[in-house]
Symmetry: C2
Subunit: 235 residues, 2 copies
């Protein structure tokens, strides 16, 4: 029952992180350490530490009643995208320069998965393929710190992501931008990758902002004045 070599908190952490990436945790659902501990057959501490780590990294917020995925404000989205615009086009250009055939194949397979999922209207598959695509080109980024930072910033958008693909026109535009980036990767042209990634960033920002704006409006009309006590800040 005990494997001392690899610790439990990392296991719980990576599992939760994966679930976050795949939008399997809704902002309304509460994460409680005791529940996670019970479902894994472990004690509270590892589960709690994993949750705290996610809080420290900004993915979750601690409320008085369990942990919840962090909801991004419009300012958050703008700010996060400003950082992403500084990093991702450049990093993608590096990736295009240093891309190996294996990674190219992964990229193409992920792209195929995305188009397939779009045709089948399978949102969860679309999200998964999307993550695959991102991770594929990030593997070609030699700078580990750069890749980790980018990964982090992308993952913040979990809570908004689902809604982005609800609108068919937006989804199509999104896929189009991605396939153009993909083509540039295959052409091994770092500069075109950089340009198209930058365009993609701006389009994505617009999409997320409009989706989130709609979400906020809906929430406002649904429950006019509901206080959500949040004790622990993002530090």
């Amino acid at each position: 029952m005990k494997k001392p070599t690899d610790n439990l908190v990392d296991a719980v952490y990576t599992e939760l992180r994966m679930k976050l990436q795949r939008s399997e945790i809704s902002p309304s659902g509460r994460l409680v350490d005791t529940e996670i501990a019970a479902s894994h057959g472990i004690s509270r501490m590892p589960a709690r530490e994993a949750l705290l780590r996610l809080v420290a990294e900004g993915y979750l917020v601690g409320t008085t009643r369990g942990f919840a995925v962090r909801e991004l404000s419009l300012e958050d989205i703008s700010g996060l995208f400003e950082v992403r615009r500084q990093l991702e086009p450049r990093a993608a250009a590096c990736a295009a320069r240093d891309m190996t055939p294996e990674i190219e194949a992964e990229l193409t397979s992920a792209m195929a998965g995305i188009e397939q999922a779009l045709d089948a209207n399978n949102i969860s598959a679309l999200l998964a393929a999307n993550v695959d695509f991102r991770n594929a080109w990030l593997k070609a980024v030699n700078n580990a710190h750069m890749a980790a930072t980018i990964s982090r910033f992308i993952d913040y958008f979990q809570s908004v992501r689902l809604g982005t693909f609800a609108n068919a026109a937006t989804a199509e535009q999104y896929i189009d931008g991605l396939s153009r980036i993909h083509a540039a990767f295959l052409a091994h042209d770092p500069l075109i990758v950089q340009d198209r990634m930058m365009l993609f960033m701006f389009a994505a920002e617009e999409a997320y902002l409009s989706v989130r704006r709609r979400q906020l409006e809906e929430a406002e009309t649904l429950r006019p004045a509901r206080k959500r006590t949040t004790r622990r800040g993002t530090a």
Copy 2:
């Protein structure tokens, strides 16, 4: 003895973080949760959680014998500076654009502190004033995510920083670059701030690389083949 409003782990975390910023923890010294707990009159858990948080953020590494400040490889330095080059010039330009008189005063005061510390050959004061200068202009950055990310990346260099100022010529060049940035801030010229910050970044990278290279050589001659078991990675 119990203040439930503000928790102990945050207190320990911020204290350790401050000490790290000020280079008050040497890479050779080991941080042990029980010691920290005892010195604060608390139990192991808060101290331990604070340490784990610092590990998760990449400031510390967990060894089999306590925690230690992370030692940067030459690749780490290059990679970290690549990210910094993408972020800091741009952020500084934004800060120059949105600077308030109060922050300007802080900047000038920090700059004075730096020159004073340099004249007095007071390294710890120099480090403190350096942190002040950085924090001052970062306060003018409206984008909280940008500021936090930059802060994070700068703090990684704690373990190398002290040696940077040992060489008088390097120190002078460093201060000169900083004072030129300061002047550009005062002139409210975002573009010049951006350019000078970029120049500063390249110079700083060179300085850190050479210092670290020397450190590594020294360490190698000192103890030829000493294995340092590090269990927990940077995730």
